[in-house]
Symmetry: C2
Subunit: 559 residues, 2 copies
């Protein structure tokens, strides 16, 4: 097995450098994962994901990590490790790669297929993507060797890795669950032997997935979900519409197989469903037992011979399930006798949107099947027993609970403390922390810039928190624009948006209040800025008193 050489002091007078682990995203949050490892003048980076905005981040399309640190140290970057193809791990890459020099990027085939498609959408062709498989070792500069190993997750070709460094070995689980059987017949399981061997060889630092650290027990297997789906679909006499995450390739393969057994032909509906199916087929992870049909083609079949696999599991109104629920799909209309299966849970923040669609489905009169009443979804992340297994097998000296909010990180840390051989030290890190790691050292030594860059339309970073605050203010009580025109005689125009429905009386009163302030200011020969401020203040007081509201006021004086 390759081993990086021993620490090389940068100069004879300096002590050997420590390893720096610098999470730029995904630490203290779930989303936009990106982790930097630096040893001396060499950097390796892991993943580059995006996050979706929360409700108060109004109008934002998506969020990518700040990479100021990488821009500053771009000459040191030796390469990139990609763990898997989910958006929160690769969705930020087009924004990141566009600003950094070309370095080798390593990942498994499905991961790279998804990255390649994503980059080509952005016109980024010149990226050095290098395919690896489980067990491969990749060298980055003088300081790092990464070995990929299989961890099961809710997408194929998911990898953890062991990063061999001059100070010791870091084992990063990546996103994972320990799924004893993903179905599909491919026999894919987490490589616990390799994890155990790493533990025997000595793991200096474990970085492990905290998403489900609050869930007791063991996350259900995909095979169990497949059995439950098979049972449910067997009982359906009409058409079946099933929605799940388009990247849930194991589950979709299991559904293709059970549909085949039950004599149902499958229609894939929705752009991302088709995109992922193509990437999964191209990389050998999806093997439809029969060709897919179109919605027109299945029109000639009987209802119980049809199964649609659809986008829209998160309540997106424009995805297939959304259009079906709202009756706006161009080709397909739901009807009594159909069954809709939501093989998914709402991601936090999407609960209302999903609930709205579920209610519409009930109103249409179709049968609706969803968790927890039916066990038709399993998380892709490990629960407490699985997390304990990894901690017990690796017996790390130091522990960094990762991929979680503070509640998940801290519960993961507490879990570790209950085990027979707890880590010597656990850190609850944040994005931007510089975590110094040495054979006997594990501490936060400083911070670098980290955080969120908002992507809105074509703009990357031109919407910041100040702009968002304006949007929040506008959304709460709307807007009044006051334009005072001074010539030939002073008068005031009022334009309102989102303030109140047209109300001639109220408008006249506002104009009068504003005009009085302006006229008084002019009489007192105030500066125009002060006249404008007086108008602002007078209308502010008036609207508060008359309506109890504080709209955004924009006063303008036209001289």
């Amino acid at each position: 097995m390759t081993r990086p050489e021993q620490p090389r002091p940068e100069s004879a007078d300096l002590p050997a450098p420590t390893l720096e682990v610098i999470p730029l995203g995904g630490m203290g949050e779930i989303g936009k994962n990106i982790t930097v490892f630096r040893y001396g003048d060499e950097i390796v980076v892991v993943d580059g994901g995006l996050a979706f905005p929360k409700a108060h981040q109004m109008g934002i399309d998506l969020i990518v990590p700040r990479i100021d640190y990488l821009l500053e140290h771009q000459d040191k970057i030796k390469g990139w490790i990609l763990t898997h193809g989910h958006e929160d791990h690769i969705g930020g890459l087009p924004y990141i790669f566009a600003r950094l020099p070309r370095v080798p990027v390593y990942g498994l085939p499905l991961t790279l297929a998804l990255v390649r498609e994503k980059l080509s959408e952005f016109g980024l062709q010149d990226v050095d993507l290098r395919e690896v498989t489980y067990g491969d070792e990749v060298r980055f500069g003088q300081s790092f060797v990464a070995e990929f190993f299989c961890m099961t997750h809710s997408i194929p070709d998911n990898a953890g890795y062991i990063l061999k460094t001059p100070v010791g070995d870091v084992l990063h689980t990546g996103d994972f669950k320990i799924d004893p059987d993903v179905g599909t017949g491919a026999g894919i399981v987490s490589d616990l032997e390799r994890v155990e061997q790493a533990g025997k060889d000595g793991v200096l630092l474990l970085i492990s997935d905290s998403t489900n650290a609050e869930r007791p027990g063991h996350t259900p297997s995909e095979a169990e979900i497949a059995r439950n789906l098979e049972e449910i679909i067997k009982g359906c006499r009409g058409r079946v519409f099933l929605t799940t995450f388009a990247s849930q390739v194991y589950r979709i393969q299991n559904i293709l197989d059970l549909a085949h057994r039950q004599g149902r032909r499958v229609v894939m509906e929705g752009r991302s469903m088709i995109k992922y199916a193509q990437a999964a087929q191209a990389t050998g992870h999806m093997n439809p037992p029969e060709p897919f049909l179109t919605s027109e083609e299945v029109g000639e079949l009987q209802d119980q011979q049809v199964l649609f696999v659809c986008t829209g599991s998160q309540g997106q109104p424009m995805a297939v399930l959304g259009r079906l629920a709202f009756g706006t799909h161009a080709k397909i209309a739901l009807r009594r006798g159909d069954t809709v299966i939501l093989s998914s849970n709402p991601i936090p923040g999407n609960e209302d949107a999903v609930n709205l669609i579920v209610n519409r489905l009930y109103e249409i009169g179709v049968d609706v099947v969803y968790p927890p009443t039916y066990r038709v979804h399993a998380s892709g992340h490990a629960s407490q027993e699985e997390l304990a297994t990894i901690l017990n097998l690796t017996r790390p000296k130091f522990f960094l609970p990762w991929h979680g909010e503070p509640r998940h990180q801290i519960n993961h840390a507490k879990l570790a403390q209950t085990l027979p051989r707890p880590p010597k030290r656990t850190l609850i890190a944040k994005n931007g922390d510089i975590v110094n790691l040495g054979p006997d050292e594990f501490r936060v030594s400083g911070t670098v810039a980290a955080g969120a860059v908002y992507v809105d339309g074509l703009g990357v970073g031109d919407v910041n928190d100040d702009v968002l605050l304006d949007r929040v203010n506008l959304s709460q009580e709307g807007l009044l624009i006051l334009t005072a025109v001074l010539h030939p005689t002073p008068h005031v125009e009022v334009v309102a948006r989102g303030f109140a429905r047209p109300n001639r009386d109220l408008e006249l009163q506002i104009r009068r209040v504003a005009l009085e302030a302006v006229e008084q200011g002019l009489r007192e020969k105030k500066r125009l800025e002060d006249v404008r401020d007086d108008m602002y203040g007078a209308v502010r007081r008036f609207t508060r008193k008359a309506t109890g509201r504080n709209p955004v006021l924009i006063p303008m004086i036209v001289d």
Copy 2:
């Protein structure tokens, strides 16, 4: 037992009228409950609640039901029944009573105490509130007699009622669970004997609470929650901060009792916590074993002698728990060793806000206790076994699943069909439906106006869906105001809010594009309206191309 007389035809030629059941709120939704019963020229109304806005109803404070139907038929209203004191049942009354004639309003003591306080905040003193107790019968005009009976819920003095009408008996559960033991030692249980007797006498229509119709089993009892809390608090060596709904009087009494047993003195923190505690004490539902202390007074006690009961269970940033979590409370600061117990679940829509606070609490380093890891909360609504019990005891001819969204109503209806003696007919009604009820009739015969009135600041109904749409649009991509001033020479001013952070280049480009459109229009001697539209169109195209965004554009021409 009083019985209303037989149907009185309005004229010899007309058939006897049927009873009309008209839900104006709370049917097909959870919130703003109000139900109208009409027989001929007589109306009785039940409850008058409010709802809280969803995320897209931006800036709205609260929502009350449209009561056009009651305004139109106000001379027919004989009186009002109040089932209990939750906001979704009484919170709309100040808005409703202000617009309708004075009629008798019946409710139990705690309900009326809360209504009285609410009305007095609005300066509405002249309301005819009449106290009843369980078993009381109240006559409304010639057609209705209502008999109140006890159903347990998450607030004391909760009532169901049997409405005896010329066409038969209607049994309305009100909000309920069948709690075998609410704790508190008061021996309060749902009056299943009365429900059973009603079933024997014959229930024509059952109206029953559908909130938890998707939950199997039996909702846990308050006594069980109290035992779990006692166990947890016994293990706390520091201060305890517990938050729950301020109206959860049984639970709070149980907490006062267990605190007393464990030698902890109680501080009530938060305006609504104190308000409900006062109303509950005034009506005999809360009996603190020791006087409450202030946060200053407990400063002299040891940490393990203190328990705070706080507002803020829904993540409200300005409530006590919110201020504690964000470190902005004027008198109290959390510290390691404290335990915070969330004896509550987030109401749908509040998940993010609660999650934010939970994470902050972890970051502070206090111990945080919440469901489902700890069973420290129980719903106030019946699960499937309890719903089945009510259906089995009442054996109604007709069934109206109420207090639920379509998913809850339909699952409640399906549950009813699985029982040994299912209802002859079940209707899934919506707000505004006129449900005609006769000895052999149960159908929707028409609709009346129903829906939402938005309350925003002092305005009731002056913000409508058009105004909200403006707010949504403003929130998504902000706003550009273009002011073209034509004299002495044309120039354009641009004001932006929520669009992008200040960018001199972009602003100059927008001004140039706008000015070119204006100058061209003037050259072509277009009407000023058309010049304005040209400017709008040119800037719309430019911003879309340059930024990928469509801000709200407000073009103005000052001549």
